[in-house]
Subunit: 444 residues, 2 copies
């Protein structure tokens, strides 16, 4: 009976509950359909979300190339009749003006903090020394090579921007004009024509100068204790393109021949600095004076760099070049990746590897074998030819030729050639594949 | 009755067909759910599609900046021991090798078709002429200024890459080495040291040369009818960095002093060319010969450019410079936007505006007043000083000084200065705001 009961109950239940089951089934389908619809909507929404994030990230991580053809009509500081390129009028709020310009030219805002403009130059007329202009030509090529390798701009000035500053002070007027002409450049790097870059791979550690506006080779004890006019060297220095620098240039130039107080400054510098013998207020002595007397006002923003040869005295350096070549070739002979041939535009890719092996090079001082970044031929006067009598005979010209070829070998190598003899720039040899695995003695 | 029949039929029908209706309803829901599911899947699929297209387009429109620090370990042509920088061995499949390198260095692949490397140079030793090296220095500055303004790289060679090519042929060895050293450069632009860029704004119309590999100033009738050795000029020409060019360089160099057949070629050129008087196979006569005798093999890929001064003979040009200055200043006086001060890096932004006003300038020929792109001091020999006797006295040096200052004024102006007297590069004046609205007579 029970069995029958059960038997009879089942179909009854099935028959009675059919609408309920269908309802549940329908409900499930409705829920899934509804979910699918929301899912679709969500996915559609996420397309734009992912798109915008993706593209933003993508192009932030890969800064765009410079857009040289775009200059929007919006007014900039260039449209201000009061703003000039000369030292005659100060520029107010330069930082804001430069920032606004960069905002209107976004492709130049990318990586602006790493952008350097190298300035150098010489007198407008031919040199008196028969070898002078040839050395100027090679000195310019040396700097142009460095700038091409690292992607920096270079401007050679052979005009005198201020009739009263046609001497060691000329750089001040050129720097001032160039800051206005190059709002895209964060740093202006001045190099005298007799300074030569002798490490083509070295990159200026700009990160180190985040909190500074003027980076000049210098030694604090020589400034503040010895009060020496050679406590700094203005043959190679970096200046940030900012308001502070413009103000500093004005104050600096106020000690120059363009100032009515020039005579006063000449006397003051002679009496203040312990070892100044050449009369007249020169730009280097004036900088030492400002550090001494206006330290509070300027000192904190001036970085005295002596951890590498931002300026290196040639007499300390040239005698060590052969040993430096030998050490670098030894290292390359040991480390295949360092002698791998690469395109010149990616030479920087080896910097990291080199650093590992240069740890043993003993710093940048006299003792070490690291290439000096800059070799400065102070006192050689290649253009006039009237070198310091302390340098006997052809010492200056022989040393300059050697240093220029030392640097040129680092460049020529990327074109497949090298000078076998640093004393003679005329001859080159084709660099064999995998050099200097076997042939390193060729250059030593 | 009928009504009742109808009445009774209806519920019967409803009751009997309920499963069918439910089935249809369920089917519709299933279809919608299924469609939603497919739709979701399709949308998900399209995320990646849209993403990849979007980012590609996005970054094509804003090419990334050059990545100089990245050189992947994957082997390139640089790792092939057989590949050399000299003319001694041909390079097979250079186009593929260069393409593979660009693939490994994507930041250099962007806009590669517009990338130019300007090559120039002079002898390794000082010039014999007392003014020679000074003119070389200014000639290099002139080219470096142009390259900085337009974002091109420049390499100055004062080494002799092939001991047998230390003369007019030197350029062939330098071009060959530079193509290997610069796979990122689509075009190599050779300029002799005595050629000066006298229109700093003009951009080489690379689009015009899409189908060509060598662009040289030339006149078909002088080549094919007159068979003249001056039918082309090799003082300024463009060569595409490609397989065709490497093959052409090999054939070209096979007529040079490095070839055992040099004597044969010297005689052949003298007898073939109608007006060649200087003995010896020079690179210019050899190019004319290849056009004449191997037109089928090379001619189609060589563009003879005579629509602008890719090379301009100085004697035809220098006398017209004052009038050209006057016409440009007149135009600027009329059109405020042309005298607006701009940052040097965006000088190109005015090119389009200038073109509108230069339509009346009457082309690039003698008659017109458009700035000549390049003024070539053929026959002046600034380095030796031994100019063509046809040029009396100081004619060459006076003309070079004038042309250099003419060009320099276009550059200096972006730094706020100009030379008042083209005959004297030593003096400059600060350019007044809105110049030359009123002061245009100053320069005429």
């Amino acid at each position: 009976m029970t069995r029958i009961k059960v038997h009879t109950k089942a179909p009854t239940f099935f028959r009675d509950c059919r609408p309920f089951i269908l309802a549940v089934f329908v409900a499930i389908l409705l829920l899934y359909a509804l979910w699918s619809f929301t899912e679709t909507a969500w996915t559609n929404l996420s397309v734009s979300a992912i798109f915008s994030n993706a593209t933003t990230d993508h192009c932030t991580s890969q800064p765009q190339s410079l857009n040289r053809t775009h200059d929007p009509p919006e007014p900039t500081f260039y449209d201000d009749p009061e703003l000039c390129y000369t030292l005659d009028k100060p520029i107010d709020n330069w930082d804001d003006k430069r920032k606004s310009w960069l905002k209107l030219h976004p492709s130049f805002a990318d990586n602006v903090q790493d952008r350097i403009l190298l300035l150098t130059g010489s007198q407008p007329s031919p040199c008196k020394s028969p070898i002078g202009d040839h050395l100027l030509l090679r000195g310019f090529k040396n700097k142009a090579d460095y700038c091409r390798i690292h992607g920096y701009d270079i401007f050679y000035s052979n005009a005198c921007f201020d009739p009263k500053l046609c001497n060691v002070w000329a750089k001040v007027a050129v720097i001032r004009a160039s800051m206005v002409a190059h709002p895209e450049a964060e740093w202006i790097w001045w190099m005298d024509s007799d300074a030569i870059i002798t490490d083509m791979d070295f990159k200026i550690p700009l990160q180190r100068y985040k909190e500074h506006n003027l980076v000049v080779p210098g030694w604090p004890n020589l400034v503040y204790e010895k009060k020496s006019w050679v406590a700094v060297n203005t043959g190679s220095f970096l200046m940030r393109n900012c308001e502070w620098s413009l103000e500093f240039l004005d104050v600096w130039a106020s000690m120059s021949p363009r100032s009515p107080d020039y005579k006063y400054w000449s006397e003051t510098l002679m009496s203040t600095l312990s070892d100044k013998v050449i009369p007249g207020a020169d730009e280097q002595s004036s900088l030492v004076y400002l550090l001494l007397r206006e330290k509070k006002k300027w000192g904190d923003m001036i970085y005295l760099e002596n951890q590498y040869y931002l300026h290196g005295y040639w007499v300390e350096i040239v005698g060590r070049l052969n040993n430096i070549i030998k050490k670098y070739l030894d290292t390359e002979a040991k480390v295949p990746v360092l002698r791998r041939r690469v395109a010149e535009v990616v030479s920087e890719s080896l910097d990291g590897v080199w650093e590992r092996y240069l740890r043993d090079a003993g710093g940048f001082g006299n003792s070490g074998w690291r290439r000096p970044f800059i070799t400065h031929f102070t006192g050689c006067q290649p253009c006039t030819g009237k070198h310091d009598p302390a340098y006997k005979g052809n010492a200056c010209w022989v040393a300059m030729e050697k240093s220029l070829n030392f640097a040129d070998n680092q460049v020529l190598r990327r074109y497949g050639f090298m000078h076998p003899d640093l004393g003679n720039g005329s001859s080159v040899f084709p660099v064999p594949f995998d050099f200097p695995a076997d042939e390193k003695e060729e250059l030593v």
